[in-house]
């Protein structure tokens, strides 16, 4: 107490500031930095959850590099990213752009778009899984069969399965992106549009010269945010392919599912940690690259 009362106001402020900061710092150290460091350490070891952790050096990484499944999974993960991010952003922007102009039942329509975002990914995945089933239970195929159109193998196909799983993932994230886009659209000062109207420029010019450039901070945020989401895709894939996780023939398996499988079915914790480190590095690089490309000059 004596020590505290001897401090001047400036020092007391510093003490209090660090006192409050200590809580998140300790929290982050314990639940973020320590496990991350531990995972990196584990990626150089072998451990089956039961015995001791033994040193393996670079063996896990060597196995990874020569594992054809890993490269397939690597490709899938990027497919989710390069299909998912642009498609979801373009669709979300188109919807937001037009919804912004709609006055009739605006709130209700916006809520309808937001609804899937609030739904549990697991429940949603199972409903879509049922939609995709072949005759006699699948909604889509039953519909096709009614009109005499041949069935489409959605999930039981090496080419259709990945897009089929991506579709509900894009759909589910749409609500969030629309809300953010609309907030961004509303933030653009009306004076620019008024000036454009006086100049009599076309709607396309307004869109490409005013709206999109001024939406840049919103776009940067959404690109980074949704890229991370697609790189970490798991719930949809796992729940729609539980019988043959990531299948058929690994055609839908993303990195996170491979990590899960290696760790909790194969009990090969070191190898799973090595895969995690690779994923961590990719996420970091992709985020940094996007921030660099889309930075304000």
């Amino acid at each position: 107490m004596n020590f505290y009362s001897n401090l001047n106001i400036g020092q007391k402020r510093v003490l209090w500031a660090w006192g409050f900061l200590a809580v998140p710092i300790i929290f982050y150290t314990v639940v973020r930095f320590y496990p991350t460091a531990n995972a990196i350490l584990l990626s150089f070891q072998e451990w089956n959850l039961l015995g001791d952790r033994t040193w393996a050096g670079l063996e896990n990484y060597a196995t990874l590099a020569s594992d054809p499944v890993f490269w397939k999974v690597f490709k899938n993960t990027f497919l989710y990213l390069i299909l998912g991010t642009p498609i979801s952003l373009i669709v979300a922007f188109t919807v937001a752009y037009h919804l912004d102009k709609v006055r009739f039942m605006h709130g209700t329509i916006r809520a309808l778009y937001f609804l899937p975002f609030m739904t549990s990914a697991v429940a949603m995945a199972w409903v879509w899984r049922w939609f995709y089933q072949p005759v006699p239970i699948g909604l889509f195929n039953n519909f096709l069969a009614t009109f005499g159109i041949p069935q489409i193998a959605f999930l039981n196909s090496t080419t259709n399965a990945l897009p089929a799983i991506l579709a509900p993932a894009v759909w589910a994230g749409l609500g969030f992106q629309i809300i953010i886009f609309m907030a961004g659209l509303r933030a653009i000062p009306a004076t620019y549009y008024e000036a454009a109207r006086i100049d009599g420029v076309s709607r396309w010019t307004v869109l490409f010269e005013i709206t999109i450039p001024l939406l840049k901070p919103t776009i940067v945020f959404l690109v980074v945010f949704s890229s991370i989401g697609f790189l970490r895709i798991f719930d949809q894939v796992f729940n729609m392919t539980t019988n043959n996780p990531g299948g058929p023939l690994n055609s839908t398996k993303p990195l996170v599912l491979m990590i899960y499988d290696t760790a909790f079915n194969g009990y090969d914790m070191g190898y799973a940690a090595a895969q995690t480190v690779v994923l961590f590095t990719i996420l970091l690089l992709v985020s940094l690259l996007q921030l660099y490309l889309l930075r304000d000059r």
Binding site: L50, G51, P134, V135, P136, A145, N243, P248, L249, Y267
Partner: protein
């Protein structure tokens, strides 16, 4: 009843005198949580404590997902169970990590175990000693839908593979465009078919899945090709099934959209709860030469390395009780899993039972796969069929590739 009375009397005497038996010892038993298993074990513990008033058994159970981690963390710390339940496929890992100790030779002599138990428990033997024993086992059988059988005018379930195909053909229904609306037989390597193919069909066509030491894949030969061809023909030639029909084989059967379905004894409970489904059970069909095979799997109990001194003695007594005929019968009635000893399983009442009978008969000719990574090994089977169905790979090539992939899994495990 007398035991119960004695136990109750003992407890009240102890309470009156304010003492506990001089050599009171408490041991812990761990298993993963599955309601019927916990109920059965509570019953067994009660009976055991009545017969051994100086021993108390405390049961702990955990969700399946945490089970392995908890065991691994607790035993080395001296905190965990004295008797532990584990999946038979984990035995090697538990032995290597020194989590369990071998059963004492004097009370559990290998020769006696081999005489008393079904032969598949030999998978629990390492270096001439037994490390663990099951209370109950599971085997496969053919479930069939009685209503669909009646509608199609079929009187008896098929006895051979040939009859299986013929029966399945009668039970298959298609719509005008040729889409299946009802399958004769469910299939799917992702369900129980990988066991059926590996331990039953393959052997019926004259092959073997693995070498005697379980370290080499031996199915990449002519017998393997014939067995695989026969299996994929069900869908491709006979058109009596579709591997993704109604998402999961058991779902199709439960919904009454499948005439026949191969599954394990653990499915009995779920099917009993399905209203409006009239089903029967038959032994798996015999092969081209009349041979019958089956696959059995089980959970085992073992004494952990933590149990020492008095606790070890108590743990041994407990092991002896939970592997007794009486315990097995209680387990069958409560959980629906089959006794691990012929003396308990092959009673007239059990073999004559319309539901349990076919499973129990299957135990006599059942084999157990010594898995090193069950899900990865199943995946090799699933992919083997997928390559043929989705990519048009030839049976011989796909089989060779599967054998190679599975051999890699075995090599990685055994090289450590």
């Amino acid at each position: 009843m007398t035991n119960l009375f004695k136990g109750a009397a003992g407890v009240s005497m102890a309470a009156l005198l304010g003492t506990t038996p001089a050599s009171a010892v408490e041991i812990e038993y761990w298993q993963y949580f599955f309601e019927a298993r916990v109920t059965a074990m509570e019953q067994l513990i009660e009976n055991f404590e009545d017969a051994n008033p100086d021993i108390t058994v405390k049961m702990n159970h955990f969700p399946y997902a945490d089970y392995r981690t908890k065991v691994a963390a607790a035993i080395p710390a001296g905190e965990g169970p004295d008797v532990v339940q584990l999946f038979y496929g984990w035995l090697n890992d538990y032995v290597d990590a020194e989590l369990i100790q071998p059963l004492p030779d004097d009370l559990f002599p290998a020769a006696q175990i081999e005489e008393e138990f079904f032969p598949m428990v030999s998978a629990m033997k390492q270096d001439g000693r037994y490390w663990a024993l099951p209370t109950a086992v599971r085997s496969l059988a053919l479930f069939y839908n009685e209503r669909l059988f009646d509608d199609a005018g079929i009187e008896n379930p098929p006895q051979t593979l040939e009859e299986l195909v013929a029966t399945a053909e009668k039970l298959t229904k298609k719509d005008g465009a040729g889409n299946l609306t009802q399958v004769g037989l469910t299939t799917g390597m992702t369900a129980q078919d990988h066991h059926w193919w590996r331990e039953v069909l393959l052997r019926q066509f004259g092959g073997t899945p693995y070498s005697d030491d379980n370290r080499t894949v031996t199915y990449n030969d002519e017998a393997g090709q014939e067995a695989l061809q026969w299996y994929v023909d069900l869908e491709q030639t006979h058109g009596v099934t579709e591997s993704t029909f109604m998402d999961e084989p058991q779902a199709a059967f439960k919904a009454g959209r499948a005439g026949m379905h191969i599954d394990g004894s653990f499915r009995i409970g779920a099917l009993n709860d399905t209203r409006g489904l009239k089903w029967g059970v038959a032994e798996l069909p015999a092969g081209p030469n009349g041979d019958r095979y089956n696959y059995a799997s089980y959970w085992v109990n073992a004494i952990t390395s933590k149990a020492e001194g008095e606790k070890y003695d108590a743990a041994v007594k407990f092991m002896a009780y939970i592997t007794s005929d009486e315990a097995m019968q209680i387990w069958l009635e409560t959980v629906g899993e089959l006794p691990a000893k012929p003396s308990a399983a092959l009673t007239d009442e059990n073999t004559g039972d319309a539901v349990y009978g076919p499973f129990i008969k299957g135990l006599e000719y059942a084999n157990t796969t010594v898995f090193v990574n069950e899900s990865a090994q199943r995946q090799a089977m699933t992919d083997m069929v997928s390559r043929i169905e989705l990519q048009g790979q030839s049976v011989a090539e796909s089989l060779a590739q599967a054998a190679e992939e599975e051999q890699k899994i075995l090599d990685e495990y055994y090289s450590e």
